[in-house]
Symmetry: C2
Subunit: 129 residues, 2 copies
């Protein structure tokens, strides 16, 4: 299971360990991080545009960026939640050094009222294959 998962990741596939689309106990290398942001209300539109660009670029050009899910809490467009997964710690560290991530951070620095980063241990990442 672990080997299969590692292969899938290195091939730039979904990174899930089986045809059913589960990444679980197995891929210990997989990094999952959550982020909770509060954006200054008047900056929500500009922030969202910058975030979308950053996500699109990261998914397109970085093999180790597996998912970048961004949602806003319902009725609170200034409260953003991110669910991020990377194939390894190296992939995450590399992401932080990319030009597009640095551009996003610089552009949005003054739009962000608060930022909480949450490291996690994946239990089971189930998705459609």
């Amino acid at each position: 299971m672990k080997q299969v998962a590692s292969m899938a990741i290195s091939l730039g596939l979904l990174g899930f360990g089986s045809t059913l689309g589960f990444a679980s106990d197995a891929p210990q290398e997989r990094i999952v991080r959550l982020a909770e942001l509060e954006i200054f209300p008047e900056q929500v539109q500009a922030y969202t545009a910058a975030l979308k660009e950053e996500i699109e670029t990261s998914i397109r050009v970085e093999p180790g960026v597996l998912t970048l899910y961004a949602v806003a809490v319902k009725d609170h467009p200034d409260q953003i939640r991110l669910f991020e997964s990377y194939s390894s710690m190296e992939a995450y560290q590399a992401h932080l050094q990319t030009a597009h991530f640095k551009k996003y951070k610089a552009e949005t620095q003054k739009m962000v009222k608060s930022l909480k980063l949450i490291e996690t241990n994946p239990i089971l990442l189930g998705s459609k294959p």
Copy 2:
């Protein structure tokens, strides 16, 4: 874009709107929900087993359950976060009525110290295709 995304969902594919794997502005039907749970520490192992079974079954048998990601906050195995996505509100409502979900709820009812459900508006759900 909206039509393409809807087609992908109805075909039971990833539900993403393009070959790059994005579900964004487009699929307004897509339901994304977050959950934050605190589990009684002595029940974490039993809760995790029940949760895994529920996720595996839901992904396998319910076409409208697209992702069920479960993680624990690092160094706090009793703090669980879920990222759930469904192809539509109907799919979500149907999920709540399944035998496996009801079994999970009944089994875990007394293991859960607190449960916070968060409705969201997706901004951009980026993932590897």
